[in-house]
Symmetry: C2
């Protein structure tokens, strides 16, 4: 592969002149620049990334750390991976995708070896084992998902509490007094997925304020348990007039389950949920829902991270930012 020396020779200039032409950090005469550009094109020269990183301590690569659990319902994951990658490219960064079980070790490895300029942590949990590694790391990071202790870290997430309140308000205004709430699976709570209890607690609290009855159940993440559990949940509280579903696998299975029971929405039952736009489209979900935008979250987080990298410490105090929920009414609720 062509080196800067090859370009310099072909253009009849020094290597430093080629470097300055590349960076634009020096005024270069028009003829010289043209000879250099021609040489670069004809040689197909692209600066060696390793050499550049060695010299500048910048790689223009960001690590994206995923936690991928075998028991997880996967389709929603790509919703974050794609926008993170796209926004990174907009800023000139590539994405190193890390899916290792031991996220803290992966973070240490990639950060200590200087492979990346920063890291994005997805699916952050309450006591996330990656955070200690991140705090010690010589590279900045940004979280999507809220940890128990966010001290010193930039955090972005949907406002799940507000989302729950909006949905409960919506049902309350329609006169519903007996709700069923399907939460994420038990293992999400146990693992410390704070979004799960932020949503649940806010929903329960809001319902209590209005004097509504709420029956709470864990959904499942894999079939056939998803469908079976939904039936049990519906059987357990036949008086309920509305169901709030905060679980991708359950909401995806709900149309078939309700169809099988002869339940017509919203005539017999009102349904509200929370899911991402693309997810809803992929599964053709017809429900009134908080429609999340992983794209927005990814963009906010990435831009914050890029700022931290480029301002090297002068990016100000850490930010915890909750994105406003957006309710889309699809007519799956009716007045009681």
């Amino acid at each position: 592969m062509a080196t800067i020396g090859d370009v310099a020779r072909a253009a009849g200039v020094s290597r430093s002149t080629v470097s300055y032409a590349l960076s634009g950090n020096r005024t270069i005469s028009r003829e010289t620049r043209e000879r250099i550009d021609a040489a670069i094109r004809s040689l197909g020269f692209t600066p060696n990334a390793g050499a550049r990183a060695l010299k500048t301590s910048r790689t223009m690569v960001l690590a994206l750390l995923l936690r991928f659990h075998a028991d997880e319902f996967a389709p929603a994951m790509l919703e974050y991976v794609l926008p993170v990658t796209d926004v990174a490219r907009e800023h000139g960064y590539d994405i190193l995708l890390m899916t290792e079980e031991d996220g803290a070790a992966a973070l240490n490895r990639v950060t200590r070896s200087g492979m990346v300029d920063g890291v994005v942590l997805l699916d952050v949990t309450h006591a996330d084992p990656r955070l200690a590694a991140l705090r010690e790391a010589a590279r900045p990071g940004v979280l999507i998902g809220v940890p128990g202790d966010a001290a010193g870290l930039d955090v972005f997430d949907l406002d799940f509490g507000e989302a729950a309140r909006m949905l409960v308000d919506h049902l309350h205004q329609l006169g519903h007094e007996d709700l069923v709430l399907v939460t994420p699976p038990r293992h999400v709570f146990e693992r410390g997925g704070a979004y799960a209890w932020r949503f649940r607690d806010a929903a329960v609290e809001r319902a209590a304020r209005y004097g509504l009855r709420v029956t709470t159940h864990h959904g499942e993440s894999r079939q056939p348990a998803v469908t079976g559990t939904l039936h049990e949940i519906l059987d357990a509280r036949p008086e309920a007039t509305a169901v709030v579903v905060h679980n991708d696998a359950s909401i995806a299975a709900l149309p078939a389950v309700l169809h099988g029971r002869g339940v017509v929405v919203p005539r017999d039952l009102s349904v509200v949920s929370l899911y991402s736009k693309h997810f809803g489209e992929a599964f053709s979900l017809p429900y009134t829902a908080i429609e999340t935008s992983p794209d927005t979250l990814a963009r906010l987080a990435l831009e914050r991270l890029v700022k931290r990298i480029e301002l090297a410490g002068d990016a100000g105090t850490p930010v915890v930012r909750f994105v406003d929920p957006d309710l889309v009414d699809r007519g799956s609720t009716a007045r009681r």
Copy 2:
């Protein structure tokens, strides 16, 4: 961050000795090795990736090139991304995820800058614009998906022709004589997604051999077109006794569509399809199907690529490998 010099100083040895201790390319006395190990641990030393790459011309990073189309049905994509990443790690490689629109440019950039040791091309089309770049590149690559001209390239894919024949045989043995085939959307054919016509052509040919009637239609990739088109397809050929679905979005929507029409499977209609194991689980699909294994494909492709990298040209002649389809009978077909 700690450098090899810091480790050498702390251990009281030369930098080269530390390097040899790291690589194991030299016998080191036990005491020396212990001092070095202690220094590495206490300093949290990890060799600088850029420096190492500069010296060795190896980065231990692989590029994974995705084509992500806005009109595509996304859930299946992650099925490849995750196993590719996992298998890469098993072999000591990290994955650089590239989703740029201009795949050839991305390939050139990453390959000429020496950022990666090899590339994995996903979703390869008949006249894939990335192939010219790959053939010129100074790095090996491997394809998942079959191009029109595979000369000089390692190619892996499911045997879609055989998959189609197996499904048609299955229906023929049950006495079906009037089939409907739902193919991938029109734009997949136009884009050159060879798997689409390899499946369709084989199905049509096999049916003709048995004297079966086949009516072929394009499925859609996004709602609400998916559902609407499925209804049209079923309306257009009420005499058909079986349907073969080769389209993720359509098969995911089919249960609801059939339910809505009061069609009971397999009593009124036999259904067979082709989809990946995880996809089928996510959508709770109850159909007899060729169950693809992106994991297997990813592993075969990755191991081939790693071999090419590590044997540097001595990996033998290029391979085109079609993986055998695997039919899982879920009882969605009945005798006619």
